[in-house]
Symmetry: C3
Subunit: 345 residues, 3 copies
């Protein structure tokens, strides 16, 4: 267990599910090797418990929500939001110590965040804030996937978006993305920011499809890694020579703020959550649907590539780094330092 | 191997198949980690051999029954009922010592029973007897399933039928089953008997569907565990206040004798056999078919729940016992004692 | 790793694919536990590289062939036929030492042969030659399969064709194949030759179907094992009493030269390649198609049987040898000696 969890930061908020995934029917999820069950009480508040009945270890996710409580589907042990067993149907006496673990939970911006570590340390800590979801006049679209890989490989993927030119060349990639840009990498405390600017390059196929604009563009990718596994993207493009990221509204062609979350499930499996936001007046529903559909293809392409990468990983083979890996390397160093600090704390 | 088999009693009769599953075509089955092949000779007698040719270890279950013998489908080595090789097609001489293991076998009451242990110790031992199958004027229905769990978890399931109120609430469960009964547990040598009586409770949905009687009932569950893995049930209900188990025929609504068998296949997989018997005049064929169909749903629900339970099992987490677990605990103690005695014998 | 590869000869040519399987789209194959990618350059020449990018270990088989080069589908690292990285799209400088392993490759007679061992030792070594593919007036049919077994079990299968009478009784088997022949086994250096002659036996079902001849036949099977894993068959039959293998053309009913190749993929999985050749004037296309279709059934039957055999293998059970195993035993001894010699070299 020690070995397995040594790749994870435990005392952090992690997204366990989209808000829409948590309902009155129990949902099983594994985070950092811990089996959890999520459900909503009668007021709609999310509750997260250990997914194992104290009685005979049946998964509580096979049970049923009764009012505000979760009832085991085997012999009916019933738990409240604190994980305390409040009913044993076949007898009046509740055995002392009959409780399962309850996890701190916060719902925010369309995500259910869970704290897998020491609950006392959750005090005063806020989940990652992605304010664009809350902005007036902005729309959001969500997705929930799962991949067979170490969560850090997904973060690697997002720290270097030159891969769009190859992995996603049919949709959001374009030749110039990899070979005509300039990248800078900054550390800001535990945050790692990668900024890549590509001036006067050809537009990506899906962008032409959506905007109808076939001329060259100035394109930007501003990537922020926030521990433990949140990557916020400010990506877009404007007509070439109109100021790029600072172009006037009419000159901007695509302008989105997107959050990718790589929640570790086990050492080699990852929950992948995504939300993309955009100003409602920037696109009509048809255009937005095209972007959404193509992005689902893009996320699938990433999952396929990273699963392939995982299948080739071996500790025995050295890897070769290039300039564009600076963001990844800074991210990996930050994570390793934080994990080390946590293990010593 | 020692570790793997330490959960099993070896010198016992185990059901390996329903009678209807054993035919003139070889059937592969694994019992207590041993790979066996079952077939019938020209007189219909069942034969059970090791499922591995002495020559090149091909599974004999991929072969063909030729008369009373089983012929390997690879190079034609042919075996008789004792496991002796009686023919090597490509040469006249049969190599000395060319034989596979033959298992003692008895067919009885619709089941093929096999003795995986020392054949000498099978002498004088009889398989578990379930006389209701043979009763004049009684009908029987059989089922054969398989689950991914330790066989003892299935026995646990059957030793405490309060779970009907939760796992099977849509069919044979009813609220009062768990919270309005009284249970007693007895040991009778190696047999463990649990008696649960539930007076004046609501009838179960499927019982109303079959009998049309919507009034309250007196319900009984008499459960007998017989080592190594046979659980005989006397379950039923009568109109409330008419004497329950001892009610007159016209007042009894449901009255069945059922045998559940949890044959260990491997440490974490189990063959699950079932027969249910009832007096022919108690139900018409339509009613009986409803009961049968619903019971198949019930067995599937049990398999799903126990597979979930198996997936959550870890030696590291203590379990909480309640009063209703007395039968399970007595059963587990009996099994552990018998296994220990066998290992010392 | 040492243990895993101890069953393989490394410094040999192995068939990695049929010629038709290697195209302008990269093909992933594993040989002797090594992950390779195969593709063709603009002139059609096959190229075989290690299937793992030096940068982030993505499988190159998920990439794209660009001209003569293979481009990684993740960040665009591009490799030439020697495995050298010749382009890193996002920067001008190619990191020193950025190269993957390139494997010696020879295409010949419809097969792509790869040398997994020390490239220096490939010098002067030729892949196995099967001249019938090149013969004027002869036709060839190919097949490519995969099985879940140790490659030596497939060679075992082919060294003793008496199994046709059992495993393939519905197609190319016939009773007399196993019990009416005489077999001789010879060693010729590292080659092992098994010759089995069956005089005046019933014809096989598929042969009657193709030739219409229902009389008895003289049948021959001449099997040559060539290390590491090539088995050349000269099999056929002629009207009984007309000279068998030396019968005049009009008396020969079936006359084929077939090559079976059992390339080890991993310790327990095998790539199975096959080519069958025959004089064009011996059969019309309809007849040949029947033979081909039935042979595909035969190869599937073999894969099923050998996978069953693999599932029953355990080091703990002794096996029984018979006379017909002489070829297998000689083959196993030869392989073991060559593997031992290689490990000492």
């Amino acid at each position: 267990m020690t070995v397995e969890t040594a790749n994870f930061l435990r005392n952090r908020w992690y997204v366990a599910a989209l808000s829409t995934e948590v309902t009155g029917a129990p949902l099983a999820r594994t985070l950092l090797n811990e089996q959890m069950v999520l459900y909503r009480d009668t007021k709609g508040a999310p509750i997260v418990l250990e997914d194992r009945c104290v009685h005979r270890q049946a998964p509580l996710s096979l049970g049923e929500v009764i009012g505000d409580h979760l009832q085991c589907g085997y012999h009916g042990f019933t738990y409240d939001r604190t994980g305390a067993c409040v009913r044993v149907p076949s007898q009046a006496r509740i055995p002392p110590g009959a409780c399962v673990r309850a996890y701190p939970v916060i719902e925010q911006q369309g995500f259910v965040h869970v704290w897998p570590g020491d609950p006392a340390r959750a005090e005063g800590q806020a989940p990652f804030d992605f304010p664009f979801v809350d902005k007036d006049g902005w729309h959001s679209r969500y997705a929930s996937l799962r991949g067979q890989f170490d969560y850090r490989l997904l973060i690697d993927n997002l720290m270097d978006l030159t891969h769009l030119a190859f992995t996603h060349k049919k949709t959001i990639g374009a030749g110039g993305v990899a070979d005509q840009g300039r990248t800078s990498t900054e550390r800001d405390g535990d945050l790692v920011r990668v900024t890549r600017l590509m001036d006067n390059i050809a537009p990506a196929p899906v962008h032409v499809e959506v905007t109808g604009y076939e001329g060259n563009v100035d394109r930007w990718q501003i990537i922020e890694f926030n521990p433990p596994c949140h990557i916020a993207l400010d990506v877009g493009n404007a007509k070439a020579g109109r100021g790029g990221h600072d172009a006037a509204l009419g000159d901007k062609l695509i302008d989105r703020r997107t959050l990718h979350i790589a929640t570790p499930e086990t050492k080699t499996t990852t929950l992948y959550f995504w939300v993309s936001t955009y100003p409602s007046d920037a696109m009509n529903p048809e255009q937005e649907q095209i972007i959404y559909d193509r992005t689902m293809e893009v996320l699938d392409e990433d999952v396929t590539m990273i699963e392939g990468q995982q299948s080739r990983l071996t500790g025995a083979v050295p890897i070769v780094d290039i300039n564009e890996d600076a963001g990844q390397i800074a991210m990996r160093q930050t994570l390793a330092r934080l994990i080390s600090e946590e293990s010593l704390a």
